[in-house]
């Protein structure tokens, strides 16, 4: 592994930002808009400092916004921020999706739709054709439907069949010819991404996957986010990783928690 292949870590300091607007997207997902832009590229993330509580990684769903899924203490606190409240932002961090070709496919689920939507909008602005396949539990959870519809073809799956195709996102795969797309971008819950990846191995050279690991430092030194078996520092060399590097990794099999111990990748 040559040092050249590592993305340089970004040394961003915390800046103070104020929430301009909060939009309820689904019952437990909100989008927060800031009064400033960190000038991110789609796929990058920031560390959101909820003062007095915690600092957590959040992808960008737009140049000056994040979309938060309430899953625990920090995300709940963040989602409850009122307009006018300020917080610390450290970013943009990590690498980004790279647009390739003129006909891309976005596949995602849950709050993973956030960075994909940002990417799709950037692609559209460059006249790239955008097709999206997004999966959710139920119609109430569907995120960014309108934003994605504006970009091109959109297929939706729901686990309970309440909207679109009945089944997991992989059910929607059948209707698509992956060979057609110049590049495929994937972001969502790990089991879903793993499901998609295992069904599309022959395309893994053109699938860019944004993954989550437990981030602490986000500057590439603490080792919390390292991905077996290569030891990829996801916080600085990711979060976007080519699918072929993931196939023989821990991805889809296990992930580490805050102590470094291995656990289920469903967490």
């Amino acid at each position: 592994m040559s040092p050249k292949s590592e993305s340089p870590s970004t040394l961003a300091k915390s800046v103070d930002a104020t929430i301009l607007a909060v939009r309820q997207e689904t019952p437990n997902v909100k989008t927060l808009t800031f009064d400033l832009s960190l000038d991110p590229k789609a796929g990058q993330y920031l560390m959101a400092w909820i003062r007095g509580l915690d600092e957590i990684p959040m992808g960008f769903s737009g140049p000056r916004e994040i979309t938060v899924h309430e899953v625990g203490q920090a995300t709940k606190a963040l989602a409850n921020f009122e307009p006018g409240r300020s917080l610390g932002l450290r970013g943009p961090l990590g690498n980004s999706f790279i647009l390739r070709g003129d006909n891309i496919l976005l596949i995602g689920g849950g709050v993973g739709i956030a960075p994909l939507t940002f990417l799709g909008e950037a692609a559209k602005a460059q006249d790239i054709d955008v097709t999206s396949l997004i999966g959710f539990r139920s119609s109430a959870d569907v995120l960014f439907k309108q934003r994605l519809e504006k970009l091109g073809d959109l297929a939706i799956t729901t686990d309970d069949g309440s909207m679109g195709i009945h089944g997991f996102a992989s059910a929607g795969l059948k209707e698509l010819n992956l060979g057609e797309y110049s590049q495929i971008y994937l972001c969502g819950p790990e089991p879903m991404m793993w499901d998609i990846l295992s069904r599309s191995k022959e395309h893994s050279g053109k699938i860019q996957v944004s993954i989550n690991r437990y981030f602490k430092c986000a500057v590439g030194v603490c080792g919390s986010c390292c991905l077996d078996h290569e030891g990829i520092r996801v916080c600085v060399e990711g979060p976007v990783i080519m699918a072929d590097r993931l196939l023989n990794s821990e991805f889809g099999k296990y992930r580490r928690g805050p102590s470094g111990s291995r656990g289920s990748c469903r967490g």
């Binding site: 040092p3 805050p258 102590s259």
Partner: protein, 299 residues
């Protein structure tokens, strides 16, 4: 090419440049990656007897002059950690297990529960209650912990010292009296940063440890003082970011050099430092041993 191989603190190393404790040392894969990038040895994340999640975030404050961190010794416990060490070993270089405990017994029982090429006793972390520098600031504690571990293992034992003291040499002598094979200096300097927008201390733990370029002059002084006073080898750590810094540490008396915060630039720092060191020695037709402690002989 000048050989950089030699003994450091009881281990035979290809080169004296190592990965410092707590830096990319939580997984076997990241330890192995440091080996593949050229490190002469790797030190693991400090592990204790029970799993710890560490402090809430922010856990680091990136500054122009270095980094303040308060990770809070997150680790999966030594029991779960043997597997990572074993994976790390596939990198082909010595893996040093860094361990911490609240008293000599806890240190000793962790050490006897792990298989590693050497142990580094973390008596110096400045931001974990009951552990690290809270023990390591007392020479008696340093000595008794060292002695307890030495009595239980057959591999070299290194003692990592805190610079948050009036006299690090006292601590180094205590480690030596306890039977340490080497001392490692330094751990981070107790430090803090406050966000002027909100008034909040930035770190989740309020205070933490300063590392990186800012502390190099303190580290060089500690290594020089320890090397002048001790009979056992001194391993230098603190702000080493390039081969020039490594040479400065070695001239101050260091037998080996550990790299921490500079890993922010990526694993490539190992190659850069090792190549720079070799080229320097070659250009001057010197051996590594000629450099070691040179500053003490220049009067």
């Amino acid at each position: 090419m000048s050989s950089l191989a030699g003994e450091v603190g009881g281990l035979i190393l290809e080169n004296p440049v190592m990965l410092a404790a707590g830096i990319l040392g939580t997984t076997g894969a990241s330890l192995r990656r440091a080996a593949m990038a050229g490190a002469g040895a790797v030190v693991t994340k400090s592990v204790g007897s029970i799993p710890r999640d560490g402090h809430p975030g922010p856990t680091v404050v990136p500054l122009d002059i270095g980094l303040i961190n308060a990770m809070g010794l997150p680790n999966p416990s030594y029991r779960e950690f043997q597997e990572e060490i074993d994976i790390g070993k596939t990198g082909g270089i010595p893996v040093v297990a860094s361990i911490f405990g609240a008293d000599p017994d806890e240190f000793a029982s962790i050490a006897s529960g792990l298989t590693a090429d050497a142990f580094e006793l973390n008596l110096s972390c400045p931001h974990a209650e009951k552990y690290g520098a809270e023990l390591g600031r007392y020479p008696e504690a340093v000595q008794s912990v060292t002695k307890a571990v030495k009595a239980r293992v057959r591999v070299p034992v290194w003692v990592k010292l805190t610079p948050n003291t009036a006299d690090i040499v006292e601590l180094g002598l205590a480690a030596q009296d306890g039977g340490a094979d080497a001392v490692v200096a330094i751990n981070t300097l107790k430090a803090m940063a406050i966000d002027i927008e909100s008034g909040y201390p930035i770190l989740g733990n309020r205070f933490g440890g300063l590392s990186g370029p800012a502390i190099k002059p303190v580290a060089v002084r500690c290594v020089y003082d320890l090397s002048s006073a001790l009979d056992i080898p001194v391993i230098g750590a603190g702000g080493v970011s390039c081969f020039v810094d490594a040479i400065e540490m070695i001239m101050a008396g260091a037998s080996g050099v550990q790299i921490g915060t500079a890993l922010q630039r990526g694993y490539g720092v190992f190659g850069e430092i090792i190549e720079g060191l070799s080229a320097y020695l070659e250009r001057r037709s010197m051996r590594l041993s000629d450099l070691r402690g040179l500053a003490m002989r220049r009067t």
